[in-house]
């Protein structure tokens, strides 16, 4: 406990603000919904430990920062590192970053830059790898480096159809592996890569089991809880995460057979796409689920895109494993930074079909040019398919809450009417 005379340092203040942001979301998840899931307790505690109490999880381990999903965690684990994904959802950090980046930048990037600028980590990355994905992330690497952190760029192509791109990316991944292997003083071998691939594959298979339940008529888990589970994978100890999700799968199995439904009978089923909801910026998902709709699937890089595609190896030798790891991160990726993006559109449609979605909510961060630019083509495609869609721009500030709620509620209401009419 603090004595009354201590003056709060900037770090303490930052931590206090972040703790406030974090706890209000955790409490909302815990208390605002019916039929809470017991095994979600692990995740609520985890986020409290890390973001309210700022306790480190990986003391004594080498932490490898990643700026996007494209840095293969299979290789990091094989080389005994702990991957920490640095995509950040805190408004507190976003505000710090705002002074360092153009005003209209993406809040996620601002928050990540702000986090580094303040140099206030509970698990500070020892080295950070930054794939050249969107412009803002690409440029952020050098800015973060200027604060005295070690940042290494990993070249990422912006087309995925061409042969040159495939080779370029495979070479990038190889050189990433070489650099990390030097940094760690450890060799990448057939057996350490194979077990890392299989471990992550197993973690992904658990995610797939979770999503299967969301296809049911009675949905046993909320979208916001799912976001929290996948978000934990950014930084959690992988074995603990696996254990917790195994329990969650078991509990959902029971709930599914008991027909537990976290939503109402008439609640519209939403497929969520666009800029990633990253803890504690669950603003839009929370509004959706507090407005009597339920998120049954998503197409975002903080959740589904991170887990859907597993590494597929044909010959379990090092050469083929590295190539298949590379391919996994490029080929099926539906990131908006690519020139063509029919894959993303087909994916959204497929999610709507297989999860019996009633509508799509597309969020773009104000300042995320690529998601903003893709909005038209996605809207047009949904119209062709007869799928209702709502496009929302938002940022990390708490200010527009009322207006966003009104828009989401109106959309949910229209979906309900549509459902009624169909019957």
């Amino acid at each position: 406990m603090h004595t009354e005379h201590t003056i709060e340092t900037p770090h303490q203040r930052q931590n206090r603000h972040k703790a406030m942001e974090a706890i209000s979301v955790i409490n909302a998840l815990k208390e605002d919904f019916k039929f809470p899931i017991q095994s979600m307790g692990y995740f609520y505690d985890l986020f409290e430990t890390v973001y309210c109490r700022h306790e480190p999880l990986h003391e004594g381990k080498v932490k490898i920062g990643t700026m996007c999903i494209q840095i293969p965690s299979e290789i990091i684990y094989a080389l005994d590192g702990v991957p920490i994904r640095l995509c950040n959802g805190f408004y507190t950090d976003d505000e710090i970053g705002s002074d360092l980046l153009p005003q209209k930048s993406c809040p996620l990037v601002k928050a990540t830059v702000g986090w580094f600028a303040s140099d206030n980590f509970s698990d500070k990355p020892d080295i950070t790898f930054s794939p050249t994905t969107c412009d803002q992330k690409t440029k952020a690497g050098a800015i973060i480096e200027s604060f005295g952190h070690t940042v290494i760029d990993v070249g990422f192509p912006r087309t995925k159809e061409s042969e040159e791109s495939h080779h370029y990316w495979r070479e990038s991944v190889k050189s990433f592996a070489v650099k990390l292997s030097k940094f760690q003083g450890k060799k990448l071998t057939r057996s350490n890569l194979e077990s890392a691939i299989k471990k992550i594959g197993y973690a992904q298979s658990l995610y797939h089991k979770l999503t299967e339940f969301r296809k049911n008529k009675a949905v046993p888990i909320l979208g916001v809880d799912m976001f929290l589970v996948t978000n934990a994978f950014f930084f959690d100890k992988i074995d603990e995460w696996i254990g917790a999700v195994e329990k969650l799968v078991a509990e959902l199995e029971q709930r599914a057979s008991a027909g537990v439904n976290v939503a109402g009978k008439a609640s519209p089923r939403i497929v969520y796409t666009g800029s990633p909801p990253i803890f504690p910026n669950y603003k839009i998902p929370l509004i959706i689920e507090q407005s009597d709709a339920v998120i049954v699937a998503d197409e975002t890089c903080s959740s589904n895109r991170m887990f859907n595609d597993m590494v597929a190896v044909d010959e379990w030798n090092l050469y083929d494993m590295i190539d298949s790891v590379s391919d996994k991160y490029l080929k099926a990726c539906t990131c908006p930074i690519f020139t063509q993006n029919d894959d993303r559109i087909r994916r959204i449609i497929q999610l709507v079909r297989s999860y019996s979605g009633d509508g799509v909510i597309y969020q773009a961060f104000a300042g995320c040019q690529v998601y903003e630019m893709e909005q038209r083509s996605v809207l047009a495609a949904m119209e062709r398919e007869g799928i209702p869609i709502l496009y929302i721009e938002s940022d990390y500030s708490p200010s527009q809450h009322g207006q966003l709620t009104t828009r989401v509620e109106a959309f949910v209401e229209s979906l309900k009417n549509r459902k009624r009419m169909k019957k």
Binding site: R190, E194, S195, N308, D327
Partner: protein
Amino acid sequence: MTKNKFSLRRSVNNMNLVRFRFWFQIVAFVLIVYGGYIGLDLGNKLPTFACVFNGEGTGGKCYVGELQHDLKHPLEGFVGFAGYAFLISLGMFMVWFWALNKGWCGFVCPLGTMQDWLTMVREKSKIRYSEYSWANRGKIKSIKYILLILLLLLPVMIANSVFGLPKLPNGLSMPFCDICPGRMMIPAFTGHFNQFYIDFSSKTDLVMTTLGMIIVGLFLVGSFVKKRFFCYFCPMAALQYVFSKPALLKLYKDGAKCTRCGDCYRACDMDILEIADDVTSKNLVTEDCTLCLKCVAACPEEGCLEANFMGATIFESTKEGFILRMAMDQRGEKHAH
């Protein structure tokens, strides 16, 4: 949900395709290469390399060999009865072929199987496979058709003067057999190495048999470094593809479910880009496909790829099957390959 129940369909979809194919190919190899010793005779219209030069051992005979033989007749002959006979044998070939479509290549052909064995040796020695660049991959597609046309045309040109050209020497009567690796490799398995020779009796024979020896060398080295090296050039594949549309066994794709992750393409020994990139066609039996079904086994998307026999799904891609085949179904690290 059927998920919780035991079902035949589920266990088929979960099967270890590599193991299944390995044993299936061995059985097929034994029947084709040694079947003759136990009296097996599947006729001489087989859509696979059951080599006539394998003497008593062969359990049937290759239609490409037969076809060259059939065509070496004066054209007038084809008008009457011989013409009917020719069509009947072609028809027999088609009936055989339609049963398995190009599955003859992925599961039966002894030359295909030998190449797969060489691939296994390479894989065990931890040597990386080589690949063609996409541009070259596209270019070499036409070679098999050129070989096919030559093997059809040359015998005709021996018996006839085509376009007023002089008739060709008799040494070209089985032009493809001369250069076919099957002529040397298959009899070798029944202990007959007498096909490894160079024939000095005439210039044509000399050239053709030398070429044959070179091609066998290429076959062995090529398929060690490149999966299914010979199949890229195989005129049997070209001939089969002409009749592939009405075949009963099919490889179907539901493009809406495809994420274009490319897992199928990586698994494909024939480097067929369309299998991953084509999201509009339903029938994915392309010209070089061997219907080996490795792509189906490697696809992680539920029901995206399937082997279909006369309208019934017999084996389809599922998440569960994928996870089992990749040994990602358990927490531990006990799955050493």
